[in-house]
């Protein structure tokens, strides 16, 4: 059963990764990142049960905290960028190539 959970986790992670690469809307990209984090959490929780240790759950808990903080900052950045550039597309912020 553990294997199934892990494969599900890997699948969700890969889907999230593809989403990050494919989507241009910064908010959706962000959602995909959240998806990847969630997939990781699932793996942690699964391993916690597999190994009979609470460490996995503790780490998943911390991941959630960090993810919350990340969302706050990330969305604030998106709003700021949108305010100045009138766009939420990640492709528009390509000034680094110059």
């Amino acid at each position: 059963m553990t294997t199934h959970y892990l494969v599900l986790s890997a699948l969700l992670f890969a889907i999230g990764g593809v989403g990050v690469l494919v989507r241009r809307n910064a908010i959706v990209v962000f959602m995909c990142v959240e998806l990847m984090l969630n997939a990781c959490n699932l793996a942690f929780v699964t391993f916690a049960r597999q190994n009979g240790s609470l460490d996995g759950q503790v780490i998943a808990f911390f991941v959630m905290i960090v993810a919350a903080a990340e969302v706050v900052i990330g969305l604030a950045i998106i709003v700021t960028i949108f305010r100045t550039r009138r766009s939420a597309s990640v492709d528009d912020a390509s000034l680094l190539k110059h």
């Binding site: 890997a10 609470l54 960090v66 993810a67 949108f82």
Partner: protein
Amino acid sequence: MGESITFWVLAVVSVTAALGLVFSRRAVYSALMLGVVMISLAVLYAVQDAPFLAVVQIIVYTGAVMMLFLFVLMLVGVDSSDSLVETIKGQRFWAIVAGIGFAVLLGLGIGNVLLTAPKGLAGVTAAGNVPSLAEQIFTRHVFAFEVTSALLITAALGAMVLAHRERTESKPTQKQLSRARFLAFGKTGKNPAPLPGPGTYARHNSIDMPALLPDGAVSPLSVNRIIARHEAIEGTIDPEIARILQEEALAEQQAADTRPTKPLDDELGDTEPLADTEPLVEEDAK
């Protein structure tokens, strides 16, 4: 057996929702799909002896984080939809190849590892899941926990700093606004009076009904544009309103106003004057 059924159902649901998240054109749908994935995962957590995390997942993710997402979507434009045409050459192809490759490799890797039956958490959660977890967090991981508090405070401050905008000129007073309205009336003939409320002099006190002027004519100003659009699509629009809106659109085209018109919240629209044809909460407040 019960776990297996739960897993398979939720696995299918969550993968489908994840794919929907990635491939839906509208951001709002993506957000909802993400919510589905998160709730599914919360259930999976609960199934795997992690009730506390399941609850936290619901409260923090599905509650707070998702709301934050939706709120920002509202700010950015809720009805904006992405074009799914790829602009970077080869990006989509390679992304999908890499994603499938990654998933397959990881899945094969995991499948190859011979795992024994799970030990279960019964041994370490004799006092119950939440007290045991609390004991772990407040003993072994207490420093990390304290650091996360610093992280969260920093994040809150950072968000405030990023979202904060310095006002470079004093806020216009009501007197100045009123003067500007009448100057505009003198120049362009734009009605300085407040917009009529919906349903004024109408038989229906409903937001989708246009207001009637004292002479019985329909006031285009009272028509909510978004609802009018919906009605136009559904074909339920009042023909008179449709005519008025068409006339307006023609007039606008003739005015050759090339300025981009994006649906903007006042919080964001700092440079563009708001189209006065839209019903504004602000106007009512005045």
